[in-house]
Subunit: 547 residues, 2 copies
């Protein structure tokens, strides 16, 4: 027997409708690639989103068509998020930091019908335009005055010209909530990128869960700055969360350096910012160098890679900004866990609290997780035993887009499929997850595992270290041993022995890296993570000092 | 094209599983009808819930069977919530404050298979047992030592005896999320009570929405005391919310007086309590009389009836307890709106803030609302124009249980059905709802409407008034005029003229009640609301003083 409740489908269009009706005069502020700041309200945004839906209809876009974007975080990107998904088509956010070959591969694999781009990415569009036969037109996200001249792109359209000609009279259609809404390819450090295809249902459920007090804790009193890009995993869902709760949104555009971010945080009274550790490293450098403070930011969400404990302490102790450590993946929409404390921990000593906060946190409701041994058996939640992390839930990928097969799900005895994350982790009795490594990054020394993240976190705690990565290098006796690759802060002296001595007492002695190499920069991937496979290639012939 | 995400069904069993895994040692504390306090953890609760599922299976309960409860808020009731719904059957929570005739009607209408009851309600069970032919057994929610002797009930079972014999080895089944989970009858002040049948899906979506920061804002750091009964609209969803977020739960059992509640709030370090205004009136009286304070409570959720502004100020100004004014209905699972402030209002003057907080608040995401004129046209959101409130959303009733027809839905031009709430309300430009009256309680004076809630709120602001209700009484010239019925506080003098003079300057002069009648008590309904239809009957022959 079914319940007797309204069907009430979970559709993305309902988010922008809600924001308009309940938060019509709340602002969306964007730093534009044209150079200036743009301000408007949710009411304006919804009106223009309806206009854009008419534009897309006029261009012949229909259900299930993929419409691609190559764009920064900004209001026009927001309009595309809601117009494309809202009308029943699929927004395909392309990561502009990928190699042009990969972008071409992705656009063709997705069979994108249109591609909208910020002017920054005109060079990329010029490179790929002739090689993307399914794309009917490339739309520059700007007005007539800023349109590029003689771009040499066969079918180039102007966003604001199209908008000007369109009516704002549009009623959002109703359809099945399992309908695909959004396509995002994994960064694909090995092999071709694979497409994760989100649905309206998965997006709405993720939005509810991610906004909860013990997740990102978002309300109408927040001013949210998503530093995490809208071109990758929906900026962690923040463009959806902001509409659900009516938070003011501040979009940084292309200004991702410490100074630009700091100015935006201050002038727009931002309360919460979200990004990867490398971005925060730049921001903290700026703030410390210029001896300034945060006056409105109360919390930062840090994910995408493990947050070094030193960064955690700096934010909290030096600047009074609470850190919410989080973990997610493209295949998880992306949110899996957030490190919100329990009451007991609030009463604990600062050291105990920091030990918990260094973990990636508890599963948000909707995500089930477990760690398993190499033969697939569930391991205990004791905070020590490490195994591969498996997850399941209504916003976890089941398979990849078009002929890429399933997502390698592992079935349990109840017939439930679990997604193998490729992360090695432990989980404590309170349900706090700690990622100790990527499966492929773990260092296998004499039959035991050494977690590279632990070693990196310690190095990052040294005042002279700007960035550090730890990789496995072949060793004649131990099979593999850790090599630490370090970027020093400018103007501070640090040598190998001093850094290795810094490990003493912080970790089992046999975990200590065998050597340190200083470099000018680490190779970074398209989503702001260190590319350890590149590092391993670079140091493939490295030989540890003997003795 | 569908998204490629896991199906991840929304099932109630996942809540208790999550609470066990992530908050296994968090407590559930209950004041028992046996007289003592009971404490256990979510892990214990889940274990016993699995045992109970085996008990029910052993009793022959299967999918869609209704299993009734007549019980206070307590841990055994919690076990029944999760065991019955979790196994795919339907928990039917019966309001023990209803007349035995109504309880009999409801049990027969629902075709309940079993009825679980707290010992308090043994007299009720004795009255109805022989007249409920579908009920195979009545289960006393107690242990062998407390079982009633010679109760004269043909098939009487003991809860703890059944539990003792049952294994805790039980795997929660998976089924369609639209499956019915819970049945709750409206209080039915006119006509027979009507059954609202919730589903797993509606319950889970309601739980997500109700826990959001701008709704009830619940986290693992909360200690929640639901004064609102589990026998009516699921204690506003708190037994589900607590599991989702891992909050400690404190159940008051039968101790609903000011002193019992106050002691529980203090000894269990409660952070949030939820109830109707009449309950808070008793608590505040106790606290003021005894000159004590709240040491851990940070907020109260007040709903079920409009919160008088005087109570709002007392909680906030005198005791530093934030009031969350909310509105809901049985047909809404129950949450519709919560009055969380926006940033702009936080900066406003206290008077402006109180004016907003006196409203019932903004729609939680998932609920659409509108106000319509008598001919069904949507009215503007200007904070003044009043009309009937219509709502829709995935946790709003579509129709009533068994042959009661639909819920009188009104269709809009897009083919969406809206539930008519029977409430008269205005909505302001920020989306804040204010209920001005029940449709049937509004006073029609000379062709204009007078809102009875406004008149009651003013009276409740007088220091000598304990409770007040305002009803329409026939008037020879104006058709209807307001009559104020008042319960005075003990030991404080107050007469008619002084109270009427208190209205001066607070309201349009022609709204002032024509007369005041002092009574010893107001007739209260089964859900803690004043029964205005009883009052109107009582004063049907009343004649206003002439002149």
């Amino acid at each position: 027997m079914n319940g007797l409740m309204m069907s009430g489908k979970l559709l993305i269009s309902s988010l922008i409708v809600h924001a308009d009706r309940h938060h019509g005069d709340t602002e969306i502020v964007s730093r534009r690639v044209e150079g200036d700041m743009h301000r408007y309200t949710y009411r304006d945004c919804h009106r223009r989103t309806r206009q854009l839906a008419n534009v897309l209809t006029g261009l012949g876009v229909k259900g299930s068509d993929r419409v691609a974007t190559l764009a920064w975080n900004g209001y026009r990107h927001m309009e595309l998020y809601y117009a494309i998904s809202g009308m029943g088509a699929i927004i395909h956010t392309v990561n502009p930091r990928l190699h042009p070959e990969q972008v071409t591969y992705i656009a063709n694999h997705a069979e994108d019908q249109y591609l909208f781009f910020d002017l920054t990415f005109l060079p990329m569009v010029k490179l790929i335009a002739a090689r993307c036969p399914t794309v009917k037109a490339f739309v520059a996200m700007t007005d007539r005055a800023h349109m590029p001249q003689d771009a040499g792109i066969a079918n180039l359209l102007c966003y604001e010209d199209l908008m000007e000609a369109a009516s704002d009279d549009y009623v959002w259609p109703t359809f099945d909530e399992d309908t695909a809404s959004t396509l995002c390819y994994t960064s694909g450090t090995t092999g071709n990128p694979k497409g994760v295809l989100y649905s309206h249902r998965s997006t709405l459920l993720h939005t509810y869960a991610a906004a909860l007090p013990d997740a990102l804790n978002c309300s109408a009193r927040d001013v949210i700055l998503p530093v995490v890009p809208m071109f990758h995993v929906n900026a962690w869902g923040l463009p959806y969360i902001a509409c659900m709760v009516g938070a003011k949104l501040v979009f940084p555009g292309a200004g991702m350096d410490g100074r630009s971010l700091y100015e935006l945080l201050e002038t727009e009274h931002v309360t919460m910012a979200a990004g990867v550790p490398t971005i925060w490293q730049g921001l903290l450098s700026y703030v410390e160098t210029n001896d300034v403070n945060f006056s409105t930011v109360t919390r930062t969400v840090i994910g995408g890679a493990a947050c070094p404990p030193a960064m955690l302490r700096k934010f909290q102790d030096d600047f009074g900004v609470q850190v919410l450590h989080a973990w997610g993946m493209t295949e998880l929409s992306p949110l899996g866990t957030v490190c919100a404390l329990k009451s007991r921990q609030l009463k604990a000593s600062p050291e105990e609290r920091y030990a918990v906060q260094a973990k990636q946190g508890r599963a948000v409701f909707g995500i089930d997780m477990k760690i398993v041994s190499e033969d697939g058996h569930a391991l205990p939640w004791d905070g020590k035993t490490a195994g591969e992390l498996l997850v399941r839930g209504p916003w976890v990928a089941n398979s990849y887009f078009r002929n890429e097969g399933d997502a390698g799900l592992q079935m349990d005895t109840n017939g439930n499929g679990w997604f193998p994350t490729g992360d090695i982790a432990n989980i404590d009795a309170d349900g706090y997850l700690q990622i100790t490594d990527r499966n492929k990054d773990v260092i296998k020394s004499g039959g035991e595992w050494i977690g590279s993240i632990d070693l990196e976190n310690i190095a990052m705690g040294h005042p002279a270290v700007f960035m550090a990565a730890c990789i496995a290098v072949k060793h004649p006796k131990w099979d593999e041993r850790p090599l630490l690759v370090v970027v020093r802060k400018p103007g501070i002296a640090l040598d190998r022995d001093a850094l290795l001595a810094f490990y003493e007492g912080k970790i089992a002695k046999w975990w200590t890296p065998n050597d340190v190499v200083f470099v000018d920069a680490l190779p970074m991937g398209a989503t702001g993570k260190v590319l350890k496979n590149k590092l391993r290639e670079q140091f493939i012939d490295y030989a540890f000092p003997t003795g």
